[in-house]
Each structure stands twice: as structure tokens, then as C-alpha cells.
């Protein structure tokens, strides 16, 4: 059955509402805590404003050197044009260090809020053509635009993930419409903004190769050349100037700092957490048994120092190992994409690739979980199983971001953000997948073929007990740890969050893997 006339104009008019409500909350959050990332981006404004392009990637005035790909630098250059008019000190290379006047804060925060319009547009674009009811559309917008993770990372912690994810969703929306060339173009642009998104590049490559470059040898090759040249043009636009100035080595050295360790300061909830914990446990056990074990000299977060390994018992992990693990983890999805490249699976495949990158990658940031949580949002309403998994995943992901905001002032804000998100999501999903008992026949069935086939939305005892465990982990970190252990083991609460969320993430990975393998 066809969707009744829901003209584009109408839908476009409606998305302003959730977007503006989000913008109001973002405005109110301006004076909240901001991490050093704020100074990082301010410094980039200063670098791009006051230095010639040839010195952007070699400047070391501040410790927060430019380490994003060139498009992001151009973006900062564009912003600095206005920034220097708002407050000249902000873009001064030396006087601006650790500068945070009211105008600076306002300008930088507003730049994040405004750049989120890309995300809003992509959410609109993703939902405009497909056979969504207005309610489903609204729910997807709410999942993307009101994502608590984005509020925490972008508007409190301070980063520009909103518009980058918007660009990813934009690219996916083009792929879903079958406009592969434009989709590929946007992905290439995205890679030149933030190279962390490259984890999904194999999926893109296989998908585009099989879906776009087909139709006989000649036509296929022509398309391959076309796509290749589009990507090449994008990369040339990004890296060309640096190549011209002979800076390309500096650029890559900055972009791939393998001097950093396997884990970030706060262990992102991924697979390596278990590896580390296992190592600690084994060494503890062996010491008890009387085996002489040398305490490791290096730390997990600090990077490789000479030949010493941060592990006491287990073999050390190098970037190459993580790279191979990620590729291996993605491979089932690549096989699927190779055999049957279908547009409707693109969002799920891309999310799966980011999930693998998150679980097995080198020096992963907890923020990277946004890459797959936001990308999966538009697919959350496809079936009850999808909704159930998404509910679980987005709660875990948002909770794993809690340690980013460690000051008392933002504590209730992050909790309320998560609760509100979870409740809206729960209501939305259970309204979309209602209990069968009340599903009357007749008028019900029209328009929605899967309404009757889908079971009602429920969380299940497994999910419920896991989520209650989350509550316990939080309460432990808040009060119990201090009451029971006092000042001993101060790292334990954070470690518990890491391990517990990693369990959830692994579950989500397995679910996604299973889902991708089983879907034809």
C-alpha cells in the first residue's frame, strides 16, 4: 500500500521541531563542563588562522597539535574566519593558549550546534522516501537528533561528531536510494574529515564494487574508473595542497600516532578490556603459585616503550594484530556484501564494521560507540528484534560515556538524559510493536505487513537483569565503593564500568553478526 500524500515540504517542516528543541537544550548547556577537547579545537582555530597551510601540521606551539585530516583543518580555517571577528585572541597562536572567554565559549559551542544541521538534514533525508508513517519518522528523528550520547560528547564534553555522523548518514541515505556515486563521494569526504571513519571503508569498497561497478565488464570498469576518480578528486582536494608543500609526511605522522597505547586513559568497553583483565588475573594467580613474574614496565595507555610489554603473562598486542583482528571480524559482512549487495542492508553493514572497529581496534575511544549507535538508529524500527537490540545497545553505549563527565554538576544531567532517552525509546518501541492480544484484525493490517508478524516489544529477563546490573555498577561507583573499600583500589569503579559495558558491547556485536549472517 502506498503512503498517503506526505509531501516533502510537510515532513521537512516537521523535523524543525525536534531539531529546534534539541538546539534549545544545547544552548542551555553552553556553560557546562567542557573537556580539554575544547582547547584542542580552539588551538586548531588558531593554527589554521595564523599559520600558512604549509605549517599547519608541523606546528608544536601547543601540545594539542592538529591530528585530523585536512578537510577538518579547512573546516577550522572556515570557522576561524568568523572566530577572529568574534574575539581575536581566540585565534591567536600564543595569546590564545588556554583562552576561554565568554565569547570564545559561546562561539565554539554555537559552531557545534549549527554544524549539527547536517545531522538534522541527513535524518530528514533518510526518512523522507521510505515507507514510514509519520510516527515512525518522528521516532527515528528522536533517536538520531535527541541521542543522549551526542549531547554528552558534542555539547558537554565538546567535539564535532554531530555533523560528521550526519555526513555518514547522508552517504548511507544516498546508497539506500541507489545513488551510489553520491554516496561514495560523501563517504570519501567524510574520510577526509575524520579518518577514524575509515573502519567502514572495506564495507564501502566491497559494496560499491559489487553494486555500483556491475553490468558487464566494460560498463563495470567504466563505473569503477568513475568512482575511483571521484574518490581521487576528493582526496586530491584534501591532501593536494600538503603534497604540494611537501608536508604529506607530517600530515600522516600526526594522523596515525601509534605511539599511543592499546587503550585510552579510560578503557573503552571493548574486547581488549577482557584481555587486560585476564592478564592481570593470570599474573596474580602465577605469583600466588610462586612463579616469578616481572611486573610490566609499560602501561596500557602509554604506548609501546621500547621492547617492554604492558602485559605480564599474555603476549603483547601490536597495532598490526588489532588491524588483522578487525579485518577478520568484518569479513563475514564483506562476504555477504560481495554475494548480495543490497541497499537496505548498507546501514547495518556499516554499523557492524564500526562495531568491529570499536571492539578490536587500537587505542579506541569510548566516544567511537556513537559511530554505530547513531548509524543503526534508522534501522531500529525494521523489526521487533532490531528494536530490542537497539534499545539495549543505545543504553549501554550512553552509559559507557558517563565517565566522560566526571564532575558533580553534570552528573544529574547525564543521568536524566539517559533516562529520558530510555523511556522515550521504550514507549516508542512498545507502541510500534504492540502486544498481539490487542491487535484487532481488519483495518489493522493495511499498510504494514510486518505489524501482525512481529511479536510485541519486550526487553526480556536477560536484558532486564543486565540493565539492573548497570544500575548496580553505577551505585557501586557512587557510594558503595567508598563505603566498602575506602580509598583502596580507586580504579575499580571505572574498571567495572568498562568491563560491564564491554560485556554488553560484545553481546551487541554477536547479535549483529548473527543477524547479518542470517539475513538473506
Amino acid at each position: 500500500m502506498k503512503t498517503p500524500p506526505n509531501t516533502r515540504h510537510q515532513i521537512g517542516g516537521e523535523i524543525w521541531w525536534p531539531a529546534l528543541v534539541a538546539a534549545v537544550v544545547k544552548l542551555l548547556l553552553i556553560p557546562a563542563y567542557r573537556s580539554t577537547d575544547f582547547e584542542v579545537h580552539r588551538n586548531w582555530l588558531a593554527i589554521t588562522h595564523s599559520l600558512p597551510l604549509s605549517r599547519w601540521y608541523s606546528d608544536t606551539t601547543s601540545q594539542w597539535t592538529l591530528d585530523y585530516p585536512p578537510f577538518f583543518a579547512y573546516f577550522e580555517k572556515f570557522l576561524s574566519f568568523f572566530a577572529s571577528r568574534v574575539d581575536p585572541t581566540m585565534t591567536h597562536l600564543h595569546h590564545g593558549l588556554n583562552y576561554a572567554s565568554e565569547r570564545t565559549i559561546l562561539f565554539q559551542r554555537l559552531s557545534v550546534t549549527l554544524s549539527d544541521s547536517v545531522l538534522v538534514y541527513s535524518a530528514y533525508r533518510l526518512t523522507r522516501n521510505r515507507n514510514f508513517s509519520s510516527f515512525e519518522r518522528f521516532l527515528i528523528w528522536a533517536l538520531v537528533i535527541w541521542s543522549p550520547g551526542l549531547f554528552i560528547v558534542d555539547h558537554l564534553h565538546f567535539q564535532y561528531n554531530g555533523f560528521l555522523l550526519g555526513m555518514l548518514l547522508l552517504s548511507i541515505s544516498f546508497l539506500e536510494e541507489g545513488k551510489d556515486l553520491v554516496g561514495g563521494f560523501f563517504f570519501a569526504v567524510l574520510l577526509c574529515f575524520k579518518h577514524l571513519f575509515a573502519v567502514a571503508a572495506p564495507v564501502y569498497f566491497v559494496y560499491l564494487f559489487r553494486h555500483y561497478c556491475r553490468g558487464g565488464l566494460f560498463k563495470g570498469f567504466g563505473r569503477l574508473v568513475l568512482m575511483g576518480s571521484v574518490v581521487l578528486v576528493v582526496f586530491a582536494a584534501a591532501y593536494g595542497p600538503f603534497l604540494y608543500y611537501g608536508q604529506i609526511q607530517e600530515v600522516f605522522r600526526r594522523m596515525f600516532p601509534f605511539g599511543r597505547g592499546l587503550c585510552h586513559a579510560y578503557w573503552a568497553p571493548n574486547f581488549w578490556v577482557f584481555y587486560i583483565v585476564m592478564d592481570k588475573f593470570l599474573s596474580f594467580l602465577l605469583v600466588k603459585l610462586g612463579v616469578n613474574i616481572q611486573a610490566p614496565k609499560a602501561s596500557f595507555t602509554g604506548g609501546l616503550v621500547g621492547d617492554s610489554s604492558p602485559f605480564a603473562v599474555l603476549p603483547t598486542i601490536t597495532p598490526l594484530i588489532t588491524f588483522i583482528t578487525v579485518l577478520l571480524a568484518i569479513s563475514p559482512c564483506l562476504v555477504k556484501a560481495w554475494r548480495n549487495p543490497q541497499p537496505r542492508m548498507v546501514a547495518k553493514w556499516v554499523s557492524y564494521a564500526y562495531t568491529c572497529g570499536f571492539l578490536f581496534g587500537w587505542h579506541v575511544h569510548e566516544k567511537a560507540s556513537l559511530h554505530f549507535v547513531i548509524t543503526l538508529a534508522p534501522t531500529a524500527l525494521k523489526s521487533m528484534e532490531d528494536a530490542k537490540h537497539y534499545f539495549f545497545l543505545s543504553v549501554v553505549s550512553c552509559y559507557s560515556l558517563f565517565p566522560l563527565l566526571f564532575e558533580a554538576q553534570e552528573y544529574p544531567i547525564k543521568v536524566v538524559l539517559l533516562l529520558l532517552h530510555a523511556i522515550l525509546m521504550f514507549f516508542g518501541f512498545s507502541s510500534r510493536f504492540p502486544a498481539r492480544t490487542a491487535t484487532t484484525t481488519g483495518a489493522t493490517m493495511k499498510g504494514r505487513d510486518n505489524t501482525s508478524e512481529n511479536p510485541a516489544f519486550y526487553i526480556g529477563w536477560f536484558g532486564k537483569s543486565y540493565l539492573f546490573g548497570l544500575l548496580f555498577v553505577e551505585i557501586w561507583g557512587l557510594f558503595l565503593h567508598h563505603m566498602v573499600l575506602g580509598d583502596r583500589l580507586p580504579f575499580l569503579p571505572l574498571m567495572m564500568i568498562s568491563i560491564y559495558c564491554a560485556l554488553g558491547m560484545i553481546y551487541s556485536w554477536i547479535w549483529q553478526l548473527r543477524h547479518i549472517i542470517l539475513t538473506h
Binding site: 500500500m1 498517503p4 529546534l20 508513517s133 509519520s134 510516527f135 558533580a408 523511556i423 507502541s431
Partner: protein, 523 residues
């Protein structure tokens, strides 16, 4: 500005409550509102809490401005006094309690509340309430704790009261649809003015206003005695709650007179009122002096007939008539008393003559408005009092409600700008417009006709213009408060117009209800 209220889309069935509004496609909010009242109320409350928390990030009144600071310091100082001194000393000038420095000037319930919050602060941050040394105390944790005490009061009193009100208000209606109810809740809970004053500027209006909401809800559900008890508590938290007193008095009196045994009914009410007052004032009832001491603190006549640039009659006309210079305080007291009484009298008489629930809500608005416009020593913040009943009427008079909110915001703009709250002001202004025009909410009210919409748009343009010149243009040296005065006069004119309109509405209600009475012969 008008958004479409309805949407079309494919029909799908939901399991939840029957009714047209539970179809997600005619109303995108049905996934929330088709659930139980507690569920959607929880949802709205969480959002309201989020907004309050976000506003609380911003500066409070008098931040980093010695020697007197502002309302934040006043509240903190009361905690310091109440925690460290015995009850009898709280309102008495002494070496330990210098009344010249933010002496307590609210009734005892405020003092008890300060005491309670003071204990909390003492537990978590003793330095913030230590006697003498804590004056002008400002710290990260101190600010946070103070903010949280406001939020806690809001959550414990205002929020449940609103839930009570909404259920009481809609129980009598048969056609009430859930999303309209939810929208109404949103309008009351996210009143931008209350949030800005309580969580930005820093005050505890949520307590007295919350008690008033609960009192109104109790009366709407015919629990008159509970209602009077709650209203007396509100009165004892902030004496400004007396703005509502004529409406309560008129309605309850009118209702009692229609009972079988009017004298007994009135006696019961009187007993409850006296009992509540006696309970709250207990520590000061042992001697006449002690009670007078407290009383004298509550009526600060020495502060003049108006303060700053409040959009009421005395301040607005002072541009022409210099009241403060021409008349003695004594005479001004009498003048303002007469003016106030004659302003609220029509509304009160209407309530005595025909005590209907709808009339009661309108009476609350009219009476509080007359106090705001004519009484002695009114503060800009007092506009919160008429705004509360206006939000009760948001479904019946949506345009007036919106109009009052816009003007109330403008009238507080100079005050909030002094506090450094321009950003949250703008954000909450925008949020109000957005929530008012929330998609998928049907507001069953007549569209304003052409002339009134032209009038409203031009006034709105005027309001926007005033905002802009106040923010961007430096006033001439000769008239440093020129723009404040302009804003004040503009708001005053709007308030007077709204007040006249609302009074006629209330009397029109009386006419129609007598007709209905005549027909039905029963109520």
C-alpha cells in the same frame, strides 16, 4: 507561526488505550500519551528536570558582586541564620543576626525550609553555612548544593502538585484527550518565567506556588478543607500568595453559602485556617511582641511603593506623577490598598455570587493580577503569581496565556539581564514557543479573528524590537533607564488590556452560568 496541528498517514493499530488519540499517525505523541497518566507525566517531568538542570548551570543573581550579592546570598544567609540560631532569634535583630544584611522577611515556613536546607548544606559543605564567616560564600560545590535544594523542592512540591491539578482538572471533563492534557502539563511545568527565576535567578517560588497549585487542585476536587490548609501553607511560605486570597475567599465563601449549613461550613474553614496558622507560627505565639516582630519583618513598607522598573500601575504612572515625592508613605499605603481592593472586588464578588470551578480559576488570575498592578511594593518577579493561574487556563485561553507569558518574560528581561541570564532567557523563550506549537497537539480553541491577530503580531514585533534595542543600544546619559522604562510601560499596557479582557470574561461566565442554572436548577 501557526503550525499544522494534524497529520495524515497510514493507519496502524496500537494495543494501548482505545480512542482516536491513540493512533500514532494522527498524533505522533500518542506513543507517550496513550500510556497511563503516571507514565507520560514521568516523561514530561524528566524533560522539565533536564531543562531546570540546564538553566541551573548559568549564573545566579548577585554572583561575584560584593558586598550585598543577591537573592542567592539572601537564601544562603537565611540557612546560615536558621541553622546556627534558636528559632526565637530568627527574626530578631541581634549581634549574631544583623537584619540589615538580608534579614529574614518571609513568613515562618520559609524559615523552616531554610533550616531544613541549611542542615543539608551543613552536612555536605559546613563552610557554606557557618555563622559570620560564610557571608558571601561562593564555591562550585556550594552553588551546586544550593541549586539542588531548589530542584529538590520543585520535585517534592511543585511536580506532584501539578500532577494532582491535572488529574483534578481533567476528571470533570468528558472530552479531554490525553495529548491535550499532556500539553497542558507541559505548559504548567515548563513555564519559562518560573524556571528562570527559581533555577536561574535563584528563589524558592516553586514551594509557595506548588502549594497553591495543590490547594487549587484540592478545591477543584471538592476537598475544600484540604485546599484551605494547603493555601495557608502557601501563604506562610511567601506572603505574596495573598494575591490569590480574595479568589480563595470568594469561592469558598460563595460555595459555603450555598450549602445546607452555611455557618458551620464557614466555621470549619475558619478553624482550619486558624489551626494551620497557629501551627506554623507556634514558636512566635508565646508573646505578642514576638509575633509582632515577625509580622513587622513581613511588611517592608519602608522600601517604597515600587522597586526598580516593575510593570505595574504605580511605576508606570510615575513617569507622569511622581508618587514617591508627592505623597507620604502612609497615604500611598491607603491609596494602593483602595486601588487593589477595587480592582479585585468585581472578580471576588462574581465568585461569591456564582462560585463555579472555572470562575474560580479565572478569579485567581484576576485577583492576582489586580495585586500585581496596584498593590504596595511589588517586584518584577511577582508576575509569577498571575502567570500560574494563567497557565491553569492554558486550554481555555491559549492565546491570552501565550500573550501573558511573552509579556511577563519581557517585563523580567532587565532583571534577568542583570543576572547574566540572557542566554537561558532566549533559550527558554524559544522553548516556550516550540512547546506551545508542539506538533500533533490539538488545542480546541477558536482562532483569533483577523483584528486581534494583527494586534498580536504588531505587539509581538514591538516586543522583539524592545528586546533588540535594550540589548544593543546604550541609553542616553540623561536617561540611563530609558529602555527599562519603555519596556515597563509597554508591558503595563499589555497587562492592563489582558486584565480588563479577563475580568469581562469572568463576568460573562457568570451570565452564562446563571442561564444554565436557570435551566438546570442544579449545580
Amino acid at each position: 507561526m501557526e503550525h499544522r496541528k494534524k497529520k495524515s498517514g497510514p493507519k496502524i493499530q496500537t494495543n494501548t488505550a482505545a480512542g482516536p488519540e491513540s493512533d500514532p499517525d494522527t498524533n505522533i505523541w500518542s506513543f507517550v500519551t496513550s500510556r497511563s497518566t503516571t507514565s507520560w507525566f514521568l516523561c514530561i517531568s524528566l524533560f522539565a528536570v533536564l531543562i531546570r538542570l540546564a538553566v541551573a548551570l548559568h549564573p545566579y543573581s548577585g554572583a561575584h558582586t560584593p558586598p550585598m550579592f543577591g537573592d542567592y546570598e539572601a537564601q544562603r544567609h537565611w540557612m546560615e541564620i536558621t541553622v546556627n540560631l534558636p528559632v526565637k532569634e530568627w527574626y530578631r535583630n541581634s549581634t549574631a543576626n544583623d537584619l540589615g544584611y538580608w534579614g529574614l522577611d518571609y513568613p515562618p515556613l520559609t524559615a523552616y525550609q531554610s533550616y531544613f536546607h541549611g542542615i543539608l548544606l551543613k552536612f555536605f559543605d559546613p563552610a557554606s553555612v557557618s555563622l559570620f564567616t560564610s557571608r558571601g560564600y561562593e564555591s562550585y560545590i556550594g552553588k551546586l548544593l544550593m541549586r539542588w535544594t531548589v530542584l529538590m523542592s520543585d520535585l517534592m512540591i511543585f511536580f506532584p502538585a501539578v500532577l494532582y491539578f491535572i488529574t483534578a482538572y481533567s476528571s470533570g471533563k468528558t472530552t479531554g484527550d490525553r495529548s491535550t492534557m499532556a500539553w497542558h502539563t507541559l505548559m504548567i511545568l515548563l513555564n519559562p518565567c518560573i524556571i528562570l527565576i527559581d533555577h536561574g535567578h535563584f528563589q524558592y517560588n516553586c514551594i509557595s506556588l506548588g502549594l497553591t497549585v495543590a490547594a487549587v487542585a484540592a478545591i477543584l476536587s471538592d476537598r475544600d478543607l484540604v485546599g484551605s490548609l494547603l493555601f495557608c501553607l502557601a501563604l506562610n511560605h511567601k506572603q505574596m500568595s495573598a494575591y490569590y486570597a480574595p479568589a480563595f475567599f470568594g469561592y469558598l465563601l460563595g460555595k459555603s453559602l450555598r450549602r445546607k449549613n452555611p455557618i458551620l461550613e464557614v466555621l470549619k474553614l475558619g478553624l482550619v485556617v486558624l489551626g494551620t496558622f497557629a501551627l506554623v507560627w507556634w514558636p512566635y505565639l508565646h508573646s505578642m511582641d514576638a509575633s509582632l516582630e515577625v509580622l513587622s519583618r513581613l511588611a517592608p513598607f519602608e522600601r517604597g511603593i515600587y522597586e526598580d522598573y516593575v510593570a505595574n500601575f504605580w511605576c508606570a504612572t510615575s513617569v507622569v506623577v511622581k508618587w514617591k515625592r508627592l505623597f507620604s508613605t502612609q497615604l500611598l499605603k491607603l491609596l494602593s490598598l483602595t486601588a487593589t481592593v477595587s480592582a479585585f472586588l468585581p472578580s471576588m464578588i462574581q465568585l461569591i455570587l456564582s462560585p463555579t470551578k472555572r470562575g474560580f480559576l479565572q478569579g485567581l488570575l484576576n485577583c492576582s493580577f489586580s495585586f500585581y498592578l496596584f498593590s504596595f511594593q511589588v517586584h518584577e518577579k511577582s508576575i509569577l503569581l498571575p502567570l500560574l493561574p494563567a497557565s491553569f487556563l492554558a486550554l481555555e485561553e491559549p492565546y491570552i496565556f501565550r500573550w501573558l507569558i511573552y509579556n511577563a518574560l519581557l517585563s523580567m528581561f532587565p532583571l534577568l539581564r542583570r543576572d547574566g541570564l540572557v542566554l537561558p532567557y532566549a533559550a527558554l523563550y524559544g522553548l516556550f514557543i516550540l512547546l506551545y506549537h508542539a506538533p500533533g497537539v490539538r488545542k480546541d480553541a477558536r482562532k483569533p479573528d483577523f483584528y486581534s491577530s494583527v494586534l498580536q503580531s504588531s505587539a509581538f514585533a514591538c516586543s522583539v524590537f524592545l528586546h533588540i534595542i535594550y540589548l544593543t543600544i546604550t541609553p542616553p546619559d540623561k536617561y540611563p533607564f530609558l529602555f527599562e522604562a519603555l519596556i515597563m510601560i509597554f508591558c503595563f499596557s499589555q497587562f492592563v488590556l489582558s486584565s480588563i479582557y479577563l475580568n469581562t470574561k469572568q463576568w460573562a461566565l457568570s451570565k452564562s452560568s446563571t442561564q444554565v442554572d436557570a435551566r438546570k436548577k442544579s449545580l
